[in-house]
Subunit: 479 residues, 2 copies
């Protein structure tokens, strides 16, 4: 058995000169506190129990959500960890925020939202999702999860594209009869153009546009849809502007070629789907110029432009939506979201009516109540400014460590606290993740050999320093 | 403006001899109470507001979920209706059941269940989903909604089928590289056999197996998968056994033909998906003999057998799962659920490991807490017996009304309270639905001209009489 280590209590002057400031957040702990290895004995026991019921291959450890606070996740063995991964980036304002604990009503009766919504539904939509609607969009459709959001966004694009083709929205008798047996013209051979390295979910439509890891796609039938290369840029972006611009131009040219090719083979591209930062695929960035030009290509060829903000949306990049960094008035036709937004769904332009988009639950209004409160906290506590500040400190720290360990680290990159860094190789990356966890810092991987940072929006500068201290120690062990 | 009608207060001797007994359920109302037409002015106002934000074509009216109790849904205009539709059959034990109101904790932090489940997750799974696992199944995977459940069940069948084909579960290099670009062999041309009239959800994989209404499928690309005829039986089933057996034999023969055809065209049938009662498609029943033989055909051809209990599961047929009426020890390889189960998901046999089935949320553990409590109530209050009793009374009442109005009604059918009846035509059906609603009874349609009854499990015999009285009045107006 190992000793309990309370890292915040250890004098720390390991990372540069700043000690982790012990500023108080009233409801938070003051540092990690480790009692066992992770997973500890209780986690292992529970993993065994759950293994009798379902696949447990992905389980890290079991958690005590009641005891978790702010940036600290407590596990069932009493280990308290600084959480820089936050349930795959889906806990927006930390654990058990007091503002959320207050919102405890109307959870018991889950309505069929599409047909019998509760009285406060429009008001809560206005307070929550609409109050942060992307530029140019005033309509939103809620859904249960990220995959459902993208699936239904694709359907909205297909329906819109077909109506445009028809010149009206009245299906012919042949449309109606052929669709019942999965045949064209009722089920037309339309396609969605996606990017290599992209991740848009795991249901069958989404999966046909997901190309981050083979393990997601293996053995599942798919669609013959075009896949364009995503720019492979050099970081920091501002130091390699010329090469990066060339690479982006190459990818855009390929996009146009694919649109033409697929039109020629009778599978026209109804929509283009892209993440503002490819997250699951390895935190791959592109420049605003790339996205602006891609948007223009979509316009030119009559395809809808769908920006998938499931992972990037909700404030972690320092703006509420990552696409706001592009500085466009009319950035997209569809913007989908989930995770930090607590509910899935998508914003869309008027002309992409979510016509015929329906299911029993259509999301869950209890999540809107929480989201309204999350947004209040974000505004009241100026969390986007905080994120920008923490993110700057985090990225500076990563640059510094990268200079210090050039054989170990490369390509530090980020927007807000939505940061990542590449590690020498996959094995080292995984070892760093585990060692950091044993020292009480919870991180996630992405791509082949990247670490992604996905803290909550309440991750302050002193949390950054606390993290950098631990990270610096772990790196020293791997040099 | 219309007068307030408190129907329970009106002396009633309209339907046969039984008056609606005024037995008390401590937390329930004693009858409908209508203050306005439905939708009333407040509902209309809110529909207008919501129309600015999203499509409102399907909205009936807005609800006051706080004031709703038991079998009564209260709308925002103060109308109190006996609810025989229950959020498209998804409120299991009525509105605001006191046992559920008590379960109010751990709702604030939604975990990434696949990687960091809460401590009580195995225990709550055992108390809830596992305690009602179908025969032969001890494994369950939770999901956010019905469509996700079926999509992921299909994926589990594809993966299982491919591993069987390979003889092991190690993908080749060619599998890995081809799947990244949506091509075979990595993304194999497997198919799922489904039935005309079936409904399995609206994401793209599910939609390729849904064939109930054109409106669900129009304009969305699909897969070339086989579609078999579902038996069109005559009701009551026991009066037409010979014709019905012939019709079922015809359909089974077609199933085998399709499996062979699709294997020959290089799209082997990895799985067969079917509902125990086709719900959305019009409450179409088949006999236990049909399902047993279909199960044998699946076995014979090496296809998995997936029973979709999203609508039928949870007790409404008088057994917890509708497939229990088939009396088989080994009824299925996969059973999917949602709606009344409060969480989506699927049970599966050991060999259909939910291997590589993953997403961020993987359901929502707060729903398991509720479900555990729902199951306690079902057991404590013997609700399955109650459902059987109420269902018998309901079906007898429908038979009687059908004899009384032979030009208006036909094909009354049902199991437990999961009942339906056909109306002369679509227009009359819709008029009956609206008239009943204005008299305080909430019903749903299905198929072309059926009414489906989907009350909660707390729908007692006296609620049946109350309903039959109102229904009888409405029918008299349409004769």
């Amino acid at each position: 058995k190992r000793h309990t280590t309370d890292l915040a209590a250890v004098p720390c002057c390991r990372y540069v000169s700043k000690a982790a400031a012990k500023t108080q957040m009233e409801f938070e702990y003051d540092g990690p506190s480790m009692k066992t290895e992770v997973p500890g004995p209780r986690s292992k026991e529970l993993t065994k129990q759950l293994g009798e019921i379902q696949n447990v291959g992905a389980i890290n450890f079991f958690c005590n959500y009641e005891e978790s606070r702010g940036n600290y996740l407590v596990d069932v063995d009493g280990n308290r960890m600084l959480d820089v991964y936050t349930q795959i980036s889906s806990i927006p304002i930390g654990y058990n925020h007091p503002s959320l604990i207050k919102v405890m009503s109307a959870f018991v009766n889950r309505p069929a939202l599409g047909i019998m919504p509760p009285e406060n539904f429009p008001e809560k939509l206005a307070e929550s999702l609409l109050s942060v609607a992307p530029s140019g969009m005033s309509r939103v459709q809620t859904m249960a999860c990220g995959s459902c959001s993208n699936e239904n966004a694709y359907k909205a694009m297909f329906i819109w594209y077909r109506n445009k083709e028809r010149g009206h929205n009245i299906p012919s008798d042949e449309d109606v009869s052929s669709c019942m047996i999965n045949q064209s013209p009722g089920c037309p051979d339309f396609s969605i153009l996606s990017f290599m390295g992209g991740f848009h979910g795991r249901t069958m439509g989404c999966l046909a546009t997901t190309h981050s890891k083979a393990i997601h796609k293996l053995d599942v039938p798919s669609f013959d849809w075009p896949i364009a290369p995503f720019p492979k840029l050099k970081y920091p972006l501002e130091e390699f502007t010329r090469e990066n611009a060339q690479e982006e131009a190459r990818c855009l040219e390929e996009v146009e070629d694919l649109i033409v090719q697929w039109r020629q083979k009778g599978r026209p591209v109804a929509g283009i789907v892209i993440e503002p930062i490819q997250a699951e695929g390895g935190d791959n960035h592109a420049t605003p110029d790339f996205f602006k030009k891609l948007r223009n290509i979509a316009h030119k060829h009559g395809s809808a432009f769908h920006v998938d903000e499931v992972q990037t949306g909700g404030g972690a990049t320092g703006k509420f939506w990552a696409h706001e960094h592009w500085g466009m008035d009319d950035p997209a036709d569809i913007v989908s979201f989930s995770k930090k937004m607590l509910t899935g769904g998508f914003y869309h332009k008027d002309e992409l009516q979510a016509y015929r988009i329906f299911n029993t639950w259509m999301g869950d209004p209890s999540k809107n109540l929480f989201l309204a409160e999350v947004l209040n906290v974000i505004r009241r506590e100026n969390l986007l400014e905080e994120v920008t500040r923490s993110g700057k400190t985090l990225l500076q720290g990563l640059y510094q460590l990268q200079d210090q360990y050039p054989n170990l680290l490369s390509s530090a990159r980020g927007q807000g606290t939505f940061c990542a860094i590449d590690i020498r190789d996959d094995a080292t990356r995984n070892s760093i993740l585990l060692k950091a966890r044993d020292k009480g810092v919870l991180l996630g991987g992405c791509g082949d050999r990247s670490i992604r940072f996905r803290p909550a929006l309440v991750f302050k500068e002193y949390h950054v320093h606390m993290f950098l201290n631990v990270f610096s120690d772990v790196l020293a062990e791997h040099n």
